[in-house]
């Protein structure tokens, strides 16, 4: 059981390699079945890990049995395992969607998807900043490949921007790591948190520069305001299963911000505590605004959903910028909701686009959708969830986030923007829905019906907001416990570095 934490990394790595070799590699159907089987197993493993982490212990796995600050450790606390479960559920649904008719899929698609999952899982589990960089690169290089699957002008153009931006981001990440290692002498997250408290005041500005450079990199991944322009084009250009999986990618950036700026530069960091707040708060609020403007301007459904992701990123970062335990708990609940629902909407947008003939998902008057009742109802459910109307989990998440703002000043900025962005989403989605389903021209198109397995993937993802809202009490307790553990910096440092202390006593 002790080695269970390693499986979310080993399984996709080995699976990705096995899928390139015969007998699995010779048939796409075998690749797909194998991937789905493995993904199901990963969901179970993540659930077990989450259950273990709920006992409140931080599980530390020292790779090669080198103790914490010297070797690389994997850390499975409540936050990591929660996001691990989210990733595996999302990956399962995305894989399910590839079972439908998909003309653009080649034999490297499934292995790349596995490497992408490896990178995401690794980023959530690692307890070392340089290792985080390595896993970022793994998930990025897989995403470069996945983004451009199928080829075409729009994909190449979006891909070129995405790749160049992320390569520049990686360079900044390495600069930041160099500064932090040069001043603090370690890259282990728990050890960094400890060393920051004992920092020589003369080195403080340098460490602050390093820390804020990390904010730039994570902001690029999370699509924070000046660094969000790549997102709509990239997400709208990729194939649907990839777009659905990419819904977790911005959350990797948010996770990294949460981890680094709560643990290393959190309450306990002395002169450097809360260095991200003054930057994060205005930028996040402006991200909500620009996302809302983008939703109104979107000319097709997928771009609209991509802009809704930017709005959700802005809301999450604004609440995280408050850097309080209740705020983090609220953000975590909304994070679960927004990841699942935006993935579901991306898949649904593809189902709708297939039945509209040449216009695809552009918001123009066209021939009607073949299965308009079924897809229309699904669109209605998804829209209600993503806007944040009762009874689905978007509403609960938004109420929790509104509650998290306590002082008048915080409320006067957060409330209008959060509520205003919901109103804008309501307008944009009503307009999109009525154009797609009611603004018809000519006779209904003779189109194939939606593939049942693809439909199942969409229904599964759209059912999640319902589940999150029915089981809101246990889920909010879980996120509250997660936030409490994350903000308990000394407890985290103790559990990661304690094995070494015991070793020295011996």
């Amino acid at each position: 059981m002790q080695h269970l934490i390693l499986l979310p990394l080993i399984l996709p790595l080995l699976a990705g390699l096995l899928m390139l070799l015969p007998p699995i590699g010779t048939s796409r159907i075998r690749q797909r079945n194998f991937a789905l089987l493995l993904s199901g197993v990963t969901v179970l493993i993540s659930a077990v890990l989450l259950k273990q982490a709920q006992q409140g212990l931080v599980e530390v796995y020292a790779l090669g049995d080198w103790a914490a600050p010297f070797g690389i450790v994997l850390v499975a606390d409540r936050l990591s395992t929660l996001l691990l479960l989210l990733t595996s559920v999302l990956a399962f649904c995305s894989l399910l969607y590839t079972f439908g008719p998909r003309e653009e899929e080649g034999s490297f698609f499934q292995p790349l998807l596995q490497f992408q999952i490896l990178g995401i899982n690794g980023a959530f589990l690692t307890g070392d900043l340089f290792n985080l960089f390595v896993f970022f690169e793994i998930l990025l290089i897989a995403s470069y490949g996945l983004l451009m699957f199928g080829g075409g002008k729009t994909r190449t153009r979006a891909g070129l921007h995405y790749v160049i931006l992320n390569l520049a981001g990686s360079a900044i990440f390495l600069f930041a790591l160099g500064i932090l290692y040069g001043t603090l002498g370690t890259l282990n997250i728990a050890d960094l948190a400890l060393k920051v408290q004992l920092l020589d005041p003369r080195d403080a500005p340098l460490v602050q520069a390093g820390g804020l450079m990390l904010l730039i990199v994570f902001g690029l991944k999370a699509a924070m305001l000046p660094l969000q322009f790549w997102l709509p084009a990239a997400y709208a250009a990729s194939t649907p299963a990839v777009a659905a999986l990419f819904a977790i990618m911005t959350k990797v950036g948010i996770y990294a911000i949460l981890r680094v700026f709560t643990m290393i530069f959190g309450e306990a960091a002395g002169t450097l505590s809360h260095i991200a707040g003054p930057w994060l708060w205005p930028l996040a609020l402006m991200t909500i605004l620009i996302g809302a403007i983008g939703t109104l301007a979107a000319q097709d459904l997928r771009r609209l959903i991509a802009n809704l992701i930017i709005v959700s990123v802005g809301s999450l970062l604004a609440v995280i910028a408050l850097q309080r335990e209740t705020a983090t708990a609220a953000a975590l609940y909304y994070l679960l909701h927004s990841t699942l629902i935006s993935a579901g909407l991306f898949l649904l947008a593809d189902l709708i686009a297939r039945q509209r003939g040449k216009v695809r998902d552009r918001l123009v008057s066209a021939r009607g959708v073949g299965q308009d009742r079924l897809l229309g109802s699904l669109f209605f459910i998804g829209a209600i969830a993503v806007i944040g109307m009762p009874p689905l989990s978007g509403f609960i998440g938004k109420v929790l986030m509104l509650n998290a703002a306590s002082s008048v000043q915080e409320m006067s900025w957060l409330w209008p923007l959060l509520l205003g962005s919901s109103l804008v989403a309501l307008i944009a989605l009503s307009r999109a829905g009525s154009t797609l389903f009611w603004n018809l021209a000519g006779s209904p198109a003779e189109t194939e019906r939606a593939h049942p397995v693809q439909l199942l993937a969409v229904v599964l993802l759209l059912a999640m907001p319902l589940l999150l809202s029915i089981f809101a009490a246990p889920v909010t307790q879980l996120t509250a416990a997660t936030a409490q553990q994350l903000h308990d910096v000394h407890g985290q440092i103790g559990s990661v570095l304690l094995p070494l202390a015991q070793l020295e006593v011996k």
Binding site: F130, V134, E137, I141, Y144, M148, G151, G152, K153, T156, R157, G159, L160, H161, V163, I164, L167, A168, S170, A171, L174, F175, L177, G178, I179, Y181, G182
Partner: protein, 117 residues
């Protein structure tokens, strides 16, 4: 030595950033390469610069920090792979989009000035 080294990193990074902001893919790729050289040198220096430091503990009182070397090695490998990828991507974009501008289309002003030169 420190001043020379720092100037080296600074010039590499500044040139890299300048080229990165150009409009054509080739200078951008070269810029990314220069930037990664600058980064690698910088990472190397994060273990402090010393001459004649021993590589193995215990052989001398003056030993060098092995960790930045390991970090640089990893960064070089990753940077190399990424450069290879972005070169292929740039060529693909040249083929797909018909020009080598990063936005996929040459701005009108840019085309005029090139005709004149």
């Amino acid at each position: 030595m420190e001043a020379l080294y720092a100037a080296c990193v600074g010039v590499l990074t500044a040139s890299g950033v300048f080229l990165l902001l150009r409009g054509r893919t080739f200078p951008v790729v070269v810029g990314l390469t220069l930037l990664s050289y600058g980064v690698n040198l910088f990472l190397f220096a994060s273990g402090r610069l010393s001459v004649g430091g021993a590589a193995v503990l215990g052989t001398s009182s003056d030993h060098s920090d092995p960790l930045p070397q390991a970090l640089v090695l990893t960064a070089i490998v990753i940077g190399f792979a990424m450069t290879a990828f972005v070169v292929i991507l740039a060529m693909r974009a040249r083929g797909d989009l018909g020009n080598d501008h990063v936005d996929g289309r040459v701005p009108v002003i840019d085309a005029d000035s090139e005709e004149r030169t």
